[in-house]
């Protein structure tokens, strides 16, 4: 079991929910990322998704698209994200999940990535454009190195597809709260609750909900239904607006804490 599985087990025993924080690694620069991750962890983030920038991010809204462009311009690659992970790992035992698209991973080599990622202290991987049908080699390579493979389930997924996603996911299942790309929303879509119920009926894996979650109220609304919520674009926007501001880390930390308060007694 990876750090992801252990984290969810411990928190479940303690009756607590988890906050998953996404940021695009390398934004604004690769050198800056470890300190930003540490700020998220100090604020109470339980798991970090390290986004590996890709030139054509079809599942991402404008905020994460811009972050990816900045990161690529700063020279970020899958290799440098592994170096970032290694640096974070020297000071933290928090679970780390790579979050990216298939092509950079194919180019790096599936077996080579699995080996290097495990060595860098990565716990698992999520590829937004790798459908379970096309993912067999990838799954084999990751599981061969003891890494988790997290897949997305969506409000459009049919019962047959939910079964596939549950079968091939390890660590947790990531439920997409609405039909859309990544990005903040004022209010949550009603699509999340039925998806959570459908997935809960077929798997014991921890369930996380993401896409469009940006406020402590959203966290509070979802806390009773799932094991974790994922917040991404809001953190990325905060980084975008404050990249030159020396208080960026403090702001990230305190905003993370605010989100975590959304869980109330289950934080």
């Amino acid at each position: 079991m990876t750090r992801i599985g252990r984290m969810f087990e411990e928190r479940k025993r303690a009756g607590r929910k988890s906050l998953i924080a996404y940021l695009t690694a390398g934004d604004p620069t690769p050198e800056r990322t470890p300190a930003l991750v540490e700020a998220l962890l100090r604020g109470g983030a339980d798991l970090i998704e390290l986004g590996v920038p890709f030139s054509d991010p079809i599942a991402d809204g404008p905020v994460i698209q811009r972050a990816g462009e900045r990161a690529l311009k700063a020279g970020t690659s899958l290799r440098s994200v592994l170096e970032i992970a290694c640096e974070i790992r020297q000071r933290s035992e928090a679970p780390l999940l790579l979050f990216t698209y298939l092509n950079p991973v194919l180019r790096y080599g599936l077996e080579r990535l699995a080996r290097d990622a495990a060595q860098a202290g990565i716990d698992g991987c999520l590829l937004t454009d790798a459908s379970v049908e096309e993912a067999h080699e990838y799954i084999g390579a990751m599981h061969g190195q003891g890494l988790d493979t997290v897949f997305l389930a969506a409000p459009t997924s049919t019962p047959r597809r939910l079964e596939l996603v549950a079968r091939y996911s390890t660590g947790f299942v990531y439920l997409v709260s609405r039909t859309g790309v990544t990005g903040e929303q004022d209010s949550l879509s009603g699509a999340a609750a039925p998806l959570v119920r459908a997935m809960r009926a077929i798997t014991d894996l921890p369930l996380a909900v993401g896409f469009g979650i940006s406020k402590p109220e959203h966290v509070a609304e979802l806390a009773s239904q799932v094991d974790a919520v994922v917040v991404g674009s809001t953190f990325v926007r905060l980084i975008e607006r404050n990249s030159d501001n020396p208080s960026l880390e403090i702001q990230l930390e305190s905003f993370t804490r605010e989100l975590k308060h959304g869980f109330g007694a289950q934080a």
Binding site: D56, I58, R161, V181
Partner: protein, 398 residues
């Protein structure tokens, strides 16, 4: 030869279905609806009737005698897709898919366009069928194909400018996919080339294969035998697969796909996926892709917006690996020269894309006496008049 693709949408190792989970069920639904429509005589009859009475099929097969004589070698025949309504082969596919969308109960059509020909064809059929139409187009392409932007607007479509990346076809497709992810309930994505996730490469080929079926029949009627070689330009590859398909089983017929050689051999200066590209995943499919050592998709360049794309359609990747088709490149300047020659010797101003196919045939013709060449003249050059004017300043004076 086994039918391509297989039941999971693969052409050998290529193709497949690489999209976010949100789109997987809708794409499965699209595949089911298409396979059903394909078997339905009423659907096929309506499509054939519209192709005949509205689009202008069959298109002529024309013997370019003056050009053949000038080159002094092979006899050149042109498949005149440029004479179709809206000026290119794209309408074959737009009509087919729009009828499918209507059958599926989708009222909103989205599309991407590079040169604007697919956008115009889609805007046209949406006007015809009374469907809402949004066309995504990179702002660089909007600049170089201004005429088509206005044509789409005149037809009632909304042209949505895309500022991301290189502001060309690739970025327009990404934006269209984001729209589709967000509006999947009522929206049909009408993809214009033999690209993307299964069933698109198969479906687009099926709607374009009428080009080759007609040309093969016409060629046999006119010459009494098949051509020695068939030439077509390849961006995503829809006109090429459309004409190649009918000749795949005719081993003696050489199939020659012409990619955009652009302005040089460096990555970023061309769109030759088989020279400098490697298999990868982009926008739903696995195929040859121009990319850097980190798996980031490269920028491409071509004077022709319709060929300016980093990936080639998956069926072409298989034909390349099987050596059933040969893929070569024509540079910007070779394509421009071919366009000028066709204009002056035959009175046909071709689209810049089609001029790439003509350029390769013109290059090979002198050494091919007694041979018959068939060129898919996939589009007309009206949309490229500004580019021709820029490149031939010496012509544009009193």
């Amino acid at each position: 030869m086994s039918p391509q693709p297989d039941s999971t949408g693969h052409f050998g190792p290529y193709g497949g279905r690489f999209v976010p989970e949100v789109l997987m069920a809708p794409i499965e639904e699209l595949e089911r609806a298409y396979l059903e429509a394909r078997q339905d005589p009423a659907f096929q009859a309506e499509l054939s009737e519209l192709l005949r009475t509205y689009a202008g099929r069959p298109t002529p097969l024309y013997c370019a005698e003056r050009l053949s004589k000038t080159l002094g070698g092979a006899r050149l025949w042109l498949k005149r897709e440029d004479l179709l309504h809206t000026g290119a082969h794209k309408i074959n596919n737009s009509l087919g898919q729009a009828l499918l969308a209507r059958r599926m109960g989708k009222r909103r059509i989205i599309a991407e366009t590079g040169a604007g020909q697919h956008g115009v064809a889609t805007a046209t059929v949406c006007a015809l069928l009374g469907l809402e139409c949004v066309v995504y187009m990179g702002t660089e392409d909007m600049r170089r194909q201004r005429l088509n932007v206005f044509r789409m607007r005149l037809l009632g479509a909304r042209v949505a400018p895309v500022e991301a990346g290189s502001r060309t076809l690739k970025d327009a497709i990404s934006e269209a996919m984001r729209d589709w992810v967000s509006n999947v309930g009522d929206t049909y994505y009408l993809l214009g080339s033999a690209l993307g996730a299964h069933p698109y490469p198969m479906m687009v080929r099926d709607f374009q294969k009428v080009i080759g079926e007609e040309a093969r029949r016409q060629m046999l009627a006119a010459e009494g035998h098949l051509p020695d070689a068939v030439f077509a330009c390849v961006g995503g590859g829809s006109n090429a697969i459309g004409i190649f398909n009918a000749f795949l089983a005719d081993a003696a017929v050489a199939l020659i796909g012409v990619e955009a050689g652009g302005r040089g051999c460096a990555l970023g200066d061309h769109a030759t996926r088989f020279r400098g590209g490697a298999p990868g995943v982009l926008q739903g499919a696995y195929s040859y892709l121009l990319q850097d050592e980190n798996g980031q998709v490269s920028l491409t360049h071509s004077v022709s917006a319709g060929l300016d794309y980093a990936m080639i359609g998956p069926e072409h990747a298989l034909l390349h690996d099987q050596r059933r088709a040969e893929y070569v490149a024509a540079s910007d300047s070779e394509a421009l020269a071919a366009a000028l020659q066709l204009s002056r010797v035959e009175g046909i101003i071709p689209a810049l894309e089609s001029a790439h196919a003509a350029a390769e045939a013109i290059r090979r013709a002198p050494a091919a006496a007694g041979k018959i060449f068939l060129i898919n003249l996939s589009g007309r050059g009206d949309k490229d008049i500004d580019i021709y004017r820029e490149n031939f300043p010496e012509i544009d004076q009193p």
